[in-house]
């Protein structure tokens, strides 16, 4: 396909139309960073192994300083978002569906916002080795900011030029969320620089920027920036507003007409997909040497006084940001991290914003009504009509519900992207996605248990084998010793006998000699 050919957005199965509620939070410009008195930085803000803290309590850290290092390939480091003192490394509530706590580094900020020595900017990235650029992205702690939080550097690693298309995911299809929209309106130039860097690293032939058509300002601003930068083979594609067009797989299909293989990744079909916020962060890391220490967060919903987007330091608590946005209204009923379709509700606002939190939805009962009691499934099939992964949600439901996990997997449980379309359209009000999550985590835990059991069995068998071997060896040794002893004992016996015999002989000789002497003496005396 030549770059000049008009791109016709493709089509994915299902999806749902719903009110987008974006206007509420796009009226105000993105508010600047304000430094809270305390930052809470979970060691796990990404998919993969948690980072390892490299600072200790009481230490003073500077803005941008590494405070937790990546532990392994799929992991990401964490940097201090501002200067301050580490006051604790302890468990704290984190933004996670479980509502559980995890290990966090807690910084009391000093307000001086003093920068650490940053790595030098790489202005001339086009002559810089890819490995250096990728390493920069890795050490800057950049992860997918669309919510998946997969370490971005891994997606950039050399694949022998097998990647031909870069997709910039700027669809932002979930209602209420507008952080990517605002970023594109205000920072299109830096996004374009980021695209240039990624294009250079991947050596891609074309780049498609997918934006839903309910964001005309963003489309205009991005198109203008692309034109000004005269970026070749890069196109801003307006895609129809239909949730979940921003799903990686759905957007890929929309823009290229190709499907990402089941259980595969876009790279399998020569595509790399990056969220627009991630692209911005990559430009920051490469061109300014700045690690990922802040992000734009949408604060919206009827529960917050002034819905808006805020440029927030990672680790700022939800409560602080809500206060910055004018505080709660009387209608605040639910605090959701993320959007209404895929976000999870948090019990309190003491939860920190992490790299993956794009939105805090402070929902009223009108925004997000409490779930109604479920009634029986009438098998209407609305869920299957809405499913963007072309699954049979109803079958998945029956099998997950009866804990028939093998069957659920036969029906492609793990192709479910948990977008929530099926639950939304279900006339029986069944929390379908909840069942799938239940089944998925159960299956993972069973697999973990099984591999643990296999491992224990191996170790046990190895131990039994070793003990048997040792026992056998000991037995063999004893047998050998016995044999040696036996043969030795046999020799001794005859020698002893001989010695005894000799001794007896000697004694007898002595006796006879003495007797003869006595006799002769007697004879002599007589």
């Amino acid at each position: 396909m030549s770059a000049t050919a008009p791109l016709r957005p493709g089509h994915f199965h299902g999806g749902i139309h719903m009110p987008d509620h974006k206007a509420e939070s796009t009226a105000l410009p993105v508010a600047a960073v304000s430094i809270p008195s305390r930052l809470i930085l979970p060691l796990q803000q990404h998919i993969g192994a948690p980072a390892k803290a490299v600072v200790s309590v009481g230490e003073h850290v500077l803005k941008g300083q590494l405070i937790a290092a990546a532990s392994g390939r799929v992991s990401a480091p964490i940097h201090a978002p501002t200067s301050g003192v580490i006051t604790a490394i302890e468990d704290h509530l984190v933004p996670h569906s479980s509502g559980l706590s995890a290990r966090c580094i807690i910084i009391d900020t000093d307000g001086r916002d003093e920068w650490a020595n940053l790595p030098p900017p790489i202005d001339d990235f086009s002559t810089t080795d890819n490995a250096v650029l990728i390493e920069r992205i890795r050490e800057s702690g950049i992860v997918g900011l669309g919510g998946a939080t997969f370490p971005s550097s891994i997606k950039m690693e050399a694949r022998n030029n097998s990647i031909d298309t870069l997709i910039i995911n700027a669809a932002e299809c979930e209602p209420y969320i507008s952080c990517d929209d605002m970023l594109m309106r205000e920072q299109a130039d830096q996004i374009v620089s980021g695209i240039r860097i990624i294009q250079h690293i991947l050596g891609v032939k074309r780049c498609l920027i997918g934006i839903e058509d309910n964001k005309p300002e963003a489309i205009r601003s991005m198109s203008a920036a692309v034109a000004v930068a005269s970026l070749h083979n890069t196109e801003v594609v307006s895609v129809p507003t239909l949730y979940p067009s921003g799903g990686e797989r759905q957007l890929t299909l929309l823009l290229t007409g190709k499907e990402v293989p089941s259980h595969g990744i876009p790279a399998n079909i020569g595509i790399v997909c990056q969220n627009v916020g991630t692209v911005y962060a990559i430009a920051d890391a490469v061109l300014k040497g700045r690690p990922l220490i802040s992000r734009i967060v949408t604060l919206t919903g009827e529960g917050v006084a002034k819905p808006q987007n805020i440029h927030a330091l990672i680790g700022t608590s939800a409560g602080e940001l809500i206060a910055q946005a004018g505080g709660y209204t009387d209608k605040a009923n639910q605090l959701i991290c993320g959007g209404p379709m895929m976000g999870f509700s948090m019990p309190t606002d003491e939860v920190p914003v992490t790299k993956g939190v794009n939105c805090l939805l402070i929902a009223s009962e009108q925004d997000c009504p409490p779930p109604e009691p479920a009634t029986a499934c009438i098998r209407c099939g609305k869920c299957a009509e809405a499913c963007p992964a072309q699954l049979l949600p109803q079958q998945l439901y029956w099998h997950s519900r009866s804990r028939n996990f093998d069957k659920a997997q036969d029906y492609h449980l793990f192709d479910c992207i948990e977008c929530g379309c099926c639950s939304h359209v279900c006339p029986s009000h069944i929390q379908l996605v909840h069942y799938y999550r239940f089944a998925k985590t159960q299956i993972w835990s069973k697999e973990k248990e099984k591999s643990k059991a296999d491992h224990a069995r191996q170790r046990h068998e190895a131990r039994v084998a070793r003990l048997e071997r040792i026992a056998a060896e000991r037995k063999a040794r004893m047998r050998k010793k016995k044999a040696v002893l036996k043969s030795k004992k046999g020799g001794d016996d005859s020698a002893k006998k001989a010695a005894i015999a000799a001794a007896v002989k000697r004694a007898a000789a002595r006796k006879s000699a003495s007797r003869a002497e006595t006799e002769s003496n007697q004879g002599a005396t007589q």
Binding site: E259, G264, P347, A384, E385, D415
Partner: protein
């Protein structure tokens, strides 16, 4: 501040079962009015009687099963079953048969299998078939459409016949009832008559049974309403009607004097109601779209086959029940290709 916690999505739901069922009932109203117009007050009485019986039976079973009664009753599914049953039975069916049919439908066919969503068979059709094979005479006492009717039965008389199970003086079953067009067609064909001869009977309208063709038209309108409201999809009605049309056309073209014309099959009996309201019952049909095409088409084939060569003049109920049995299997073998699955050639 403490917040409520729920699992996503948090958007609430765009539809509910009661609304779905209510729209099905709404869609049936034109057809019911037409039926009442042509066949008298018995239709209305039967609908009310069946509804009361069905809802009471459901409440009774739920009480026995120690389940909440109101949320289940209020889903209106029992009423839908009752109405579908009531428009299938003869207008003057004795009350105890109607009530008995509903008890069977709700208690045995629906609740004993676990209630709404778990019943493999369409309850209304199962009850209809039970009565048809058990009380063949009562179940074939159909009234003639109003144009042919010699005795107009007012509301109270109808009520009296249904509940008194007896005819007033001066009336006889032979006088007030008449064969249905499908019955007539069948008997006459069996007697070796030509279609052109049979068509001379006053039972025929323009393209189907007199009166019945208009009832079918109004039900068709309701069906289109359901399609428009996306309560049902086109797959089952289209494939079912399509299959009947194709078969009917083929045989009719081959022997126009021995096989009725295609429109006759659609507009003389229960095909339209069956295609839009009965076969599309989601609980007992196939869920997959491809499966629905097969399901509908096979119902159509069965309807035509039973009508032409089987033992009953109308066959929608039998055809639907037979295919209900096959539905899970059809669904299993017609699963859609999952996004990204590579059995077939990739996405392009």
């Amino acid at each position: 501040m403490q917040f409520s916690s729920y699992s996503s999505p948090h958007t609430g739901h765009s539809e509910n079962v009661t609304r779905v069922m209510a729209q099905v009932l709404l869609a049936m109203i034109p057809g019911i009015i037409a039926m009442t117009w042509y066949f008298g007050w018995g239709i209305v009485i039967n609908i009310l009687l069946a509804s009361v019986a069905a809802v009471s039976a459901e409440a009774f079973v739920l009480k026995l099963r120690k389940r909440a009664i109101t949320p289940v009753i209020s889903d209106l599914s029992a009423v839908v079953t009752a109405v579908l049953f009531a428009v299938s039975i003869p207008p003057l069916l004795p009350w105890w048969l109607t009530v008995g049919g509903m008890l069977f439908a709700i208690i045995v066919v629906k609740q004993l299998y676990g209630g709404l969503g778990f019943n493999p068979f369409n309850p209304a059709m199962a009850a209809y078939v039970l009565l048809l094979v058990s009380y063949p005479s009562e179940m074939t006492h159909w009234l003639p459409p109003r144009e042919l009717s010699t005795h107009s039965l007012d509301f109270l008389t109808t009520l009296g016949i249904i509940f008194g199970n007896d005819l007033q003086q001066g009336l006889s079953w032979d006088a007030i009832t008449m064969a249905t067009p499908l019955d007539e067609m069948r008997t006459q064909l069996d007697m070796g008559k030509m279609i052109s001869e049979i068509r001379l009977s006053p039972l025929w309208g323009d393209y189907g049974g007199l009166g019945i063709e208009w009832v079918a038209n109004w039900f068709l309108l309701g069906g289109l309403f359901l399609l428009w409201r996306r309560i049902i999809t086109w797959h089952i009605p289209l494939s079912m009607i399509g299959a009947i049309l194709i078969m009917a056309t083929a045989w009719w073209l081959a022997e126009p004097e021995a096989h009725p014309f295609p429109a006759f099959h659609l507009f003389s009996g229960g095909v339209i109601v069956g295609a839009f309201f009965i076969a599309t019952d989601p609980v007992t049909a196939v869920t997959t779209k491809k499966g629905q095409l097969i399901f509908g088409a096979l119902i159509g084939v069965l309807v035509y086959s039973i009508r032409s060569w089987g033992g009953y003049p109308d066959a929608v109920a039998f055809a639907v029940l037979l295919m209900n049995m096959a539905a899970p299997t059809i669904g299993y073998y017609t699963q859609p290709r999952v996004y990204g699955e590579q059995e077939k050639k990739g996405g392009n």
